[in-house]
Each structure stands twice: as structure tokens, then as C-alpha cells.
Symmetry: C2
Subunit: 159 residues, 2 copies
Amino acid sequence: MRLTASCPVLLALGLAASAEAAPPVPYPESFRDWHHVKSVVIQPGHPLYAGVGGINHVYANAPAMKGYAGNVFPEGSVLIFDTIEAREADNAISEGRRKMLGVMVKDSGRYADTGGWGFENFDAGKPDRPLVGDKADAMCFGCHSRPGTRDHVFSRPRD
Amino acid sequence: MRLTASCPVLLALGLAASAEAAPPVPYPESFRDWHHVKSVVIQPGHPLYAGVGGINHVYANAPAMKGYAGNVFPEGSVLIFDTIEAREADNAISEGRRKMLGVMVKDSGRYADTGGWGFENFDAGKPDRPLVGDKADAMCFGCHSRPGTRDHVFSRPRD
């Protein structure tokens, strides 16, 4: 009886877990030593300026670098979109404070509902200021599912 | 007699070597996997635009990262100034081709005449297109000896 009684409970717990927030995305402590993939400056007037206006750098850990070479990123891939304030003066754009740290983590088990990727944006790069939480589907996955991505990744590496 | 005769010859050879071109700066094959230190965009109208107009990235190898923490960079430090073409469109500045790869190598024995640093700029990042050669004193060391540098280095790291 205990087993038969427990099955619906476990199922219910499973369903409850699925309906709850996605597992949190770990803060990528060592990302500044990862491979710098490329950069782009987003200026006033750009449709993404409110979110990522500034000097943006993409970083990739070692598994993610292997992912760029194929069509699917391996488990454990982490990609960073590091948004730094752009300070324009004297015909130069230099870097100010960190505005936001975007993170994508490939873990197909934990993030099955969003293409196997966990998404998070840490406000000002602070580990205790996640802005996405359980809203990855609406805030991130919609755009990252558009045509033109490869395994939900927009960036391509350069030499 | 051979010894005494050879001494002036060796001295002359030494002087000749000193007056000749500085030893070539090795091409930094793996620099794209080094630490990305910071970036700056140099725009039209900037006094350095002719040389390094574009999106510039500074990279440092492991000894150079230790150098940033002190006042003197250790032997073997290599710093990169990677100049990438800036393509402005639709309120964004994206990266084009590599325009120039600037290299500083700390080797006090080889580059004693220029503060212990060897300097080179590789046109378009091509190993067979060095632009500085024996003109490091005039092309590089003058500016890199100005007040405000630390051990002839302008850049400072950021988080």
C-alpha cells in the first residue's frame, strides 16, 4: 500500500517541481579567464540598448569553445555576455562599470524546458542580483529560439 | 696572439650587434587564449586613429598578469594590443578584420635599449608583416616612456 500510495505523491511532486522555478544558474566565478570570443558595442537607438547598451564582450569556457566548432554545445558549456558601460569622450569609447552579466549554461537535465540551456542576467555582475530567475522562457528563450541561432546561441567565434 | 687578436674582434662584433636591429619579437601564437584585460574603441578624430582606429583589445599572458599587480613586469611578460576594424551600422559597432597586432615582450637581456621591452606591430596580424623592426625606439618607446606608464605599460586591468 505504501508504494502504491507513494506513486501519485511522487508524480505530484515531480509535476510540482516542473511547474516551479527552473534551477538557479550558478554564478560563473572564473569567466574573466575564459576565452574572449568577440565584442560588440550597442549604442543609443539600438533596439537592445535598454538591456545591453554599452561595450559587450562574449566569453566561452572550454566546453563552449568546442560547441562553436559543431552544431550542438556539449553539457557544461557556459557562455557569457558581459555588458560594460560605454564612456564616450574625446573620440574614444572606454569602459566603465559592469552593467549586467548574462550567462547561458548548458545542462539538458536541469533546463529541459528552455532548450537545455539555463539563462540568467546578474545585475551589475553581482552574484546576489539575478534578474531572470524563473522567467527565462519569456525573457531569454524566446529570442534565443529564433532562426539564425545555432543550438540557441547567436555568437560565432572569430580569429 | 689569437686570443688578444680575437678580443677586439669580439668587442667589435658586440658593438656591431648592439648597433644593429634589435632582436625580432616572437609572434604570440596563443594570445587569443590569454586573459582579456580590457578594450577601448578609437574613433575618427582621435590622435591615434591612423594607427589604432577601431576596436582595441588588450590581452596579457600569465606573467604579465602578475606584472599588473606590481610595479615591474616579470621577464617573459607579453602584452597584446589587438586592433580590429570597427564596423558601424544600425546603432551598433561590430568587429571586422584584424588591422594590426601590437606586441610588447619583456626580455631585459634582449631589449635593454628600450626599457627591457621588445615592441612589434604585425600588420593585419600577419606574422610575416612586422612594421616596427629596428625602429622600436622611435615608433614605440618614446610614448611608452612618458609619465603615467608603469614599467612602460599604459593599461591597467579591471574586474
